[in-house]
């Protein structure tokens, strides 16, 4: 029974990843500018060279054929060759993954710690002054483009990795504050307080379990949000990470890179969301 469940989950995982890759490839292939190349504007190139440029896309014109070959090569660990950067895609991903992972790890950890801490303080103190101050601060960090923070930190020799934390924390704060405030109005929490339980016990035994499921779901999607923020940061601050690679590949319509990235992102998204779903399921089981 367990084996059957795992096999079903695995099959769903693989199918979802493949569909995401195919849809991503479709958008890139049929998007404008796919067969265009800046070199076409070079007046030195003669007609044969320009035709050769156009023909260099011939292997990618038939989408299904390209995707089938891509998957076949992927099974042997070969993710294709990047036309725009003239290097194997696998090499590019493995070199750049470290940079992005460090950026994301610092950003997510910092953002969550700060967001949760402020939310807890906001709910405990609940003064209008604190409410207005946190409203203004979280608005400020949400309204300034993350890349601008990154540049400001760069110019002032600050830790650029904090920029993602500055994007994540207002979202975490907003959700957590609303959920915690709502939890304190629930009958079971009111009852626990009426029965004289300590605030700490009420918080950890009654409030947290109530707010955990949506917060865990938020944890799952915040990785995607952080990665989205990492792209402009890496592009503007010249960090050679996956985000910068994704942007360059998008501008160059580099199909092998974009399909590989879509598949990697789909796999990672599913893994993190499944992990958060598992945690949510455990929470529900504990509550019951």
């Amino acid at each position: 029974m367990w084996i059957g469940r795992i096999a079903r989950h695995l099959a769903a995982f693989v199918l979802t990843t493949l569909i995401a890759g195919l849809l991503g490839a479709t958008l890139v292939r049929f998007g404008p500018g796919f067969e265009a190349d800046e070199q076409q504007l070079d007046p030195r190139l003669d007609a044969q060279s320009i035709q050769a440029l156009r023909d260099s896309h011939s292997q990618e014109r038939n989408l299904l054929s390209f995707y089938a070959h891509f998957l076949g090569r992927m099974a042997t660990g070969d993710l294709g060759f990047s036309r725009s950067l003239a290097r194997p895609v696998r090499e590019l991903l493995s070199e750049r993954a470290k940079v992005t992972l460090r950026l994301l790890a610092t950003g997510l950890a910092g953002g969550w710690i700060l967001g949760l801490a402020l939310a807890v303080i906001a709910v405990i103190f609940r003064t209008p002054l604190f409410e207005v101050t946190t409203a203004a601060a979280s608005s400020l960090f949400l309204c300034v483009p993350t890349a601008v923070f990154a540049l400001l930190l760069f110019f002032t020799n600050g830790p650029v990795r904090l920029a993602i934390a500055l994007l994540i924390f207002p979202k975490v704060f907003r959700y957590a504050r609303n959920l915690l405030a709502d939890a304190y109005t629930q009958p079971h929490v009111l009852t626990a307080r009426a029965r004289g339980l300590s605030e700490a016990r009420v918080f950890f035994w009654h409030v947290v379990p109530w707010t955990a499921p949506p917060l865990l779901a938020l944890a799952g999607v915040s990785l995607g949000v952080a990665f989205g923020a990492a792209i402009p940061i890496e592009v503007l601050c010249d960090f050679p990470g996956i985000g910068q690679l994704a942007w360059k590949a998008a501008l160059a319509r580099d199909l092998p890179v974009l399909v590989s990235l879509t598949i990697v992102v789909a796999a990672v998204t599913q893994l993190t969301n499944s992990a958060s779903d598992l945690a949510v399921a455990l929470c529900h089981r504990e509550r019951r």
């Binding site: 608005s139 402009p232 879509t262």
Partner: protein, 268 residues
């Protein structure tokens, strides 16, 4: 806290009114270039100075506020409603429906949607009016922005599925859509309101980024997004502090929204 709420309402109303009546409050057309007063500092003639083409920043701020203040919340509302519908139904029903929706959400979150925007731009006639282009941009953002919040709403709906509240409602004969929309969704308000509030600046900044691929607001029409894009050069922003005006207005508006949306929790 009621005083803070009232002030927030007043400020929002004032900002809305001034921006809707931009034709009256703006001293000059937003597109007019005063080429002898390029990058001018704030003065009696130009309250917030001028930009790099000599256009009055105050007029551009007013018109930009009008566009962004109307369209961004509309797009946020659209994406939030879609998230509530899709995530709420998935969390409430569970089973295979829930599994399929989760897979669709994961696929949605993985695809490079930039290319869809490029396709939209390619299909639009080049002479599309800037206003039509920006409305379409916000609409597409709204239609694509539901996925991550649907997941969170789904988790919330799932929690409520086995709650006492739902058990009581079922015992009273409440079923299906009525149970979902009359009992479960109202109890997801904290998440829904948080999501709505977060989406507004996200879409404003998203519209600015889409300007890089030809969508969003076209010249010379201003929006908060393209005014905020100037901040990408922090050194220029430091030498012309009036560039920060759209950011200040946006922060004030967002803070007021937040105070308005969160007042209920304090009231109870």
């Amino acid at each position: 806290m009621n005083r803070a709420r009232n002030i927030a309402i007043g400020v929002l109303a004032a900002v809305f009114a001034v921006s809707l009546l931009a034709n009256i409050f703006a001293p000059v057309p937003y597109a007019m270039q005063f080429r002898d007063f390029v990058n001018a500092p704030a003065s009696r003639q130009f309250w917030l100075g001028t930009d790099e083409l000599g256009r009055d920043r105050w007029s551009r701020l007013l018109y930009g506020t009008r566009i962004s203040l109307l369209l961004a919340p509309a797009a946020a509302l659209l994406s939030t409603l879609m998230a509530v519908l899709i995530g709420g139904i998935a969390g409430y029903r569970g089973g295979w429906w829930d599994r399929i929706v989760l897979r669709v959400i994961d696929i949605f979150l993985s695809i490079p949607w930039l290319f869809l925007f490029l396709i939209v731009r390619a299909l639009l006639p080049l002479n599309t009016s800037p206003l039509a282009s920006v409305i379409l941009t916000f609409m597409v953002m709204g239609l694509l922005g539901w996925a991550s919040s649907a997941r969170i709403i789904r988790a919330g709906a799932q929690s409520l599925r086995h709650s006492d509240l739902v058990l009581h409602a079922r015992a009273c004969g409440c079923r299906g859509g009525r149970l979902l929309f009359a009992h479960i969704v109202p109890n997801l308000k904290p998440i829904v309101l948080a999501q709505f509030w977060i989406s507004i600046p996200t879409f404003i900044l998203g519209e600015a980024s889409l300007g890089l691929i030809g969508l969003g607001v076209g010249e010379p029409l201003p929006s908060w997004g393209n005014l905020l894009r100037e901040l990408a050069n922090p050194q220029a922003a430091m030498s012309h502090p009036s560039m920060l005006a759209p950011l200040v207005v946006l922060v004030i508006v967002m803070s007021c929204f937040q105070l308005l949306l969160s007042q209920k929790e304090f009231a109870s």
